[in-house]
């Protein structure tokens, strides 16, 4: 039996990381504009329209694809900015735009009927019927599945829908359903949905206290790690708290997703593309992760065994999990 070639969708926060991803073997690179229209709106990151034009041209020259994430929810009274970004992406010949907001999907499908639409994980379409709604209403061609499903559930979704699915394979792990989380704006006033930033750096404070590294978000102590212990991102869902008699990581341990060992099962579940998280990471990260996963998907397609677990040093908390893909995670 011939095995499918899985498409590797790789992150780029800068033009340098974009080139690094392509050179390391990315089939597809995704990126965003340097403003609040994309969900990794971090200082010093992302692309001007000119940089995007050059990067997309580079991808096309190398036979790769470029996707543009415009996946925050437009602010009331300011939807024109998001419209302009969709227009820009279409003009610059992006191979698809990744959108989450219903109003924006409606705009893009009407204004640019030839522009391929992908549904962002921020839309949290977690079952076949939800996906069908987006496919029917806006002609969405691919959905990025929320990180709440098991491999069996993904297989069931693929049996029931006509469009492609893309799943996260490596990187930061949201424990909450994405696009449906206001934890960050509760603590800081800035949220992924509205501002494109979870636990924004502007509200993060690190301090050495009695030899421990204490991180605070919006004034709330999120972690305290002793010398020599791995430090986590200051995202509050991975913080250490007390609830009743429990003391520890109430929501999630500071670990990241590495589902490399599940590549065969995900392929058999009918997944089209594997997505690597990390537009906020360096080009060194991009290069290592993309190279490793390109080898893994090529090995799988050629019938060779897939080697997993080589990238732990790059991960948060230096530990990894297969996340919701295994039911025991819940």
């Amino acid at each position: 039996m011939s095995r499918p070639q899985l498409e590797l969708v790789c992150p780029a926060g800068t033009p340098a990381a974009f080139r690094a991803a392509i050179d390391a073997g990315a089939h597809t690179v995704y990126c965003g504009f340097n403003d609040e229209t994309n969900a990794r709106n971090f200082p010093g990151l992302n692309f001007s329209a000119d940089e995007l034009a050059t990067s997309i041209a580079y991808a096309h020259k190398k036979g790769a694809h470029a996707l543009v994430a415009i996946n925050t929810f437009p602010r009331a009274g300011a939807v024109e900015l998001w419209h302009r970004r969709v227009d820009d992406a279409a003009r610059l010949r992006a191979d698809a735009v990744i959108l989450a907001d219903i109003g924006l999907l409606d705009y893009a499908s009407k204004k640019h009927p030839d522009l391929r639409l992908h549904l962002s994980v921020q839309a949290a379409a977690a079952n076949a019927d939800a996906i069908r709604f987006y496919a029917k209403a806006f002609g969405v061609k691919r959905v990025v599945l929320p990180r709440v499903l098991t491999v069996q559930e993904i297989a069931a979704v693929n049996r029931d829908i006509e469009i492609e699915t893309e799943v996260f394979i490596f990187g930061g792990l949201c424990v909450m359903a994405e696009g449906r989380c206001s934890l960050s704006s509760y603590a800081t006033g800035k949220s992924p949905n509205m501002n494109g930033a979870c636990s924004p750096a502007s509200h993060v404070e690190y301090r050495e206290e009695d030899g421990d590294l204490v991180s605070r978000l919006g004034g709330f102590a999120i972690h305290r790690v002793h010398a020599g212990e791995a430090a986590p991102y200051p995202t509050l869902c991975k913080g250490c708290f007390e609830a009743g008699d429990y003391k520890g990581h109430v929501f999630e341990d500071p670990s990241s997703l590495d589902a490399a060992e599940l590549i065969p099962q995900l392929a058999e579940a009918g997944v089209t593309a594997l997505k690597i998280e990390g537009r906020q990471r360096s080009r060194s990260y991009t290069e290592s992760v993309v190279r490793n996963f390109r080898k893994a998907v090529d090995d799988y397609a050629a019938g060779r065994p897939v080697v997993a677990g080589a990238l732990r040093g790059l991960t948060e908390g230096q530990t990894t999990t297969a996340g919701s893909y295994r039911k025991t995670w819940r």
Binding site: A76, D101, A124, A130, C181, L183, Y186, A243, K247, R330
Partner: protein
């Protein structure tokens, strides 16, 4: 001054016993001066079997009490049985449905309502859903007042109603993982329904002892209680037409009466706030998402 707000009692978010469920809706039906009541499980479908046989009687009593009853859908639909249940809300009843997961758009029958868990952040999204038959929007609780003003205006232009989350702990996130089970060392599949130990949610503190969040099964909530009672003038002039009061333990009828009194101009916002403080002495109130720097901010004086 009369503000002409409609009052909605939102769906009960917590795992109460069947008897507590029936008693709560009986009191709301008989005593609470509210217009609409949304009923149904929005958080965890595993809880439903414990009280679903009580729902028909509760609906009947609420209707007899002059309330419009709306069926609330689950907030995150993933399982086959959850999809079936969602579909049946439209196909097996004649009542209005409040959509909390866009899965339900497949079967939506106008008129329907859009719950606070749907991402309606801008006028284009609101207009799209209104075009599909949505007639009431409970806006996402995290949006700032500037967005509320624009969305309420957009709703009024579509002959729809903008509702705002005005009282109670705010749902902040939903997950595939159950935190109540996790903090009790249980798996989600054998959770023993431990969320019933915390009828208002389990408070989460920082390691420095600061109150921060609350967990309610798969849901994470604000530790503070949203309370907009002193902000009704601003909400009225923004064009908000309906206020959502989310159920908690204690004298919830008193909460409803207080909002009704302030809305009808019988009582001032400041007096209303004092009365709500007396009714819920342990709660920390906030209007931070709308008027402060963040959702956790202290109550800003009106």
């Amino acid at each position: 001054m009369t503000k002409n707000f409609s009052l909605t009692v939102g769906p009960l978010q917590f795992n109460w016993s069947a008897d507590a469920f029936s008693d709560f809706y009986a009191r709301i039906a008989d005593e609470a001066p509210v217009d609409r009541v949304v009923i149904g499980e929005t958080v965890c479908s595993k809880r439903t079997p414990f009280y679903e046989d009580r729902i028909p009687a509760a609906i009947e009593r609420l209707q007899a009490g002059g309330k419009t009853v709306v069926l609330g859908s689950l907030g995150m639909v993933t399982l086959e049985r959850e999809k079936r249940a969602a579909r049946e809300l439209f196909e097996q009843t004649a009542l209005e449905v409040e959509i909390n997961d866009l899965t339900l758009m497949n079967w939506a029958r106008p008129p329907f309502s859009i719950g606070p868990l749907i991402n309606v952040y801008n006028e284009a999204t609101l207009a799209y859903l209104a075009g599909q038959g949505a007639k009431l929007f409970c806006l996402p609780p995290e949006i700032p007042f500037a967005s509320v003003e624009k969305l309420a205006h957009a709703a009024n232009q579509c002959d729809a109603v903008a509702e705002i989350w005005a009282y109670g702990r705010i749902p902040l996130a939903i997950s595939a993982r159950c935190y109540h089970a996790r903090v009790h060392g249980l798996s989600k599949d054998s959770c023993q329904f431990v969320c019933d130990k915390d009828p208002d949610g389990l408070t989460v503190n920082t390691l420095e002892g600061q109150q921060f969040l609350a967990v309610n099964g798969v849901q994470t909530m604000s530790q503070n209680f949203c309370n907009l009672i002193a902000d009704l003038d601003k909400l009225a002039s923004a064009g908000v037409k309906s206020l959502r009061l989310s159920p908690h333990t204690g004298d919830f009828v008193a909460v409803c009466k207080t909002f009704a009194d302030v809305a009808s101009g019988v009582m001032s916002g400041a007096d209303g706030l004092a009365r709500l403080k007396a009714a819920a002495p342990d709660a920390t109130f906030s209007n931070g998402f709308l008027f402060g720097s963040c959702g956790a901010a202290e109550l800003t004086p009106a």
